[in-house]
């Protein structure tokens, strides 16, 4: 949950990128890090294995500017996507303000997407969250691959509630900032509502 500091006039929120292994969560954060100007970002931390698979989390702090005199800071996290890291995923979801589900558009990853989405819903429930009530967006990544399923098919199965969804090619940046901006907007709107 967000941290609002009236003394220093800061709003701090936590965004989590979720999805199956190798879907592009870390790639999203790396692109955001590389394209954000130095004064608006902190150091990116990646706790990963020797083969660069996320082991615990990636972390990227961003400053998005001021709103009504409050500095807005977003902490972006990714979870490890591999199935057996479920215990770690639960921990990273604690205190989440908004979620981006990154789907792997490849046909052979269809089941993995479904499983990951169900896992997200369940893990949120355990923390007292309802995915349908949380600021939430979906990104269909790897749109550039020849074996990518159609967005219509993916959307039907992965986005039944029709939250904002974006096409993505995280390696080149397509859809990365659009996804982030929409999620951040939803989080701020929710914050205002909650007060």
């Amino acid at each position: 949950m967000s941290f609002i500091n009236y003394s220093s006039r800061e709003i701090n929120c936590k965004l989590v990128y979720y999805g199956p292994g190798l879907c592009g969560k870390t790639t999203n954060l790396q692109y955001i890090y590389n394209k954000t100007r130095p004064e608006a970002k902190g150091k990116m931390i990646s706790l990963a294995t020797e083969t660069e698979r996320t082991l615990f989390f990636d972390f990227l702090p961003l400053s998005l500017g001021e709103i009504r005199g409050f500095k807005t800071r977003f902490h972006l996290y990714t979870v490890p996507g591999q199935v057996f890291y479920d215990a770690s995923r639960k921990l990273i979801l604690k205190g989440v303000d908004g979620v981006c589900f990154v789907a792997d558009s490849q046909e052979e990853r269809y089941d993995a997407n479904i499983e990951s989405l169900e896992n997200l819903r369940l893990n949120l429930q355990e923390q007292g969250y309802d995915l349908d009530k949380l600021p939430y967006v979906v990104q269909y990544n790897k749109r550039d691959l020849p074996n990518a399923m159609s967005v219509a098919e993916l959307s039907k199965m992965l986005n039944p509630t029709q939250v904002p969804e974006f096409d993505g090619v995280a390696t080149t940046g397509i859809g990365v900032f659009d996804t982030l901006k929409m999620l951040a907007k939803l989080v701020l709107a929710e914050l205002r509502k909650g007060t």
């Binding site: 941290f3 009236y6 709003i11 706790l47 972390f59 914050l191």
Partner: protein, 162 residues
């Protein structure tokens, strides 16, 4: 609002009280830096040579560490591990929980001892807990954040206009 993870709010008055406690802890424990960190990874207050540190990264990593050891505790059917101590060659770190939500981090060198740090931390914990409890009550009141209620859709859109 998620009752399992309520919003953390900080006001000037409470921050002054907290700052006084951490400043005194810094002195009494003879440590180098004190950090108060929210379990979600946000820095709440600091004292000492914290300005020389990358406190954003440190806060996130400390929170991750505490979350991971909290997970281990649950598997062992313990409630939580309320304290951790890591000894380095030059610098050591003591992490302990304050209430349900806050982590108190003390960074110290050979100029003091782990025992003294733990002793002083205990007193600081006892002083900090009621402040954070009062803050939680204050945050749950309606209209506790009037400034945020003034935020319009246009304000939010303007934040993202290049």
């Amino acid at each position: 609002m998620n009752p399992m993870n309520p919003q953390l709010v900080m006001f000037e008055e409470e921050l002054k009280q907290i700052q006084k406690i951490v400043d005194r802890l810094l002195q009494d424990s003879r440590s180098r830096s004190i950090l108060l960190i929210d379990k979600n990874g946000q820095l709440v207050a600091a004292s000492g040579s914290a300005h020389e540190l990358d406190t954003t990264s440190l806060s996130s990593l400390v929170a991750g560490n505490v979350a991971a050891t909290g997970g281990i505790a649950q598997l062992l059917q313990e409630d939580e591990f309320t304290g951790q101590f890591h000894e380095g060659k030059g610098m050591s770190i003591n992490m302990s929980l304050v209430g349900r939500r806050i982590i108190l981090v003390v960074l110290f060198d050979k100029g003091t001892t782990p025992g003294l740090v733990r002793l002083r931390v205990k007193r600081a914990q006892d002083e900090l807990v009621p402040i954070f409890e009062a803050l939680a009550v204050k945050a749950s009141q309606p209209n506790s954040s009037p400034a945020l209620q003034e935020i319009t859709d246009q304000d939010i859109d303007d934040l993202f206009n290049d």
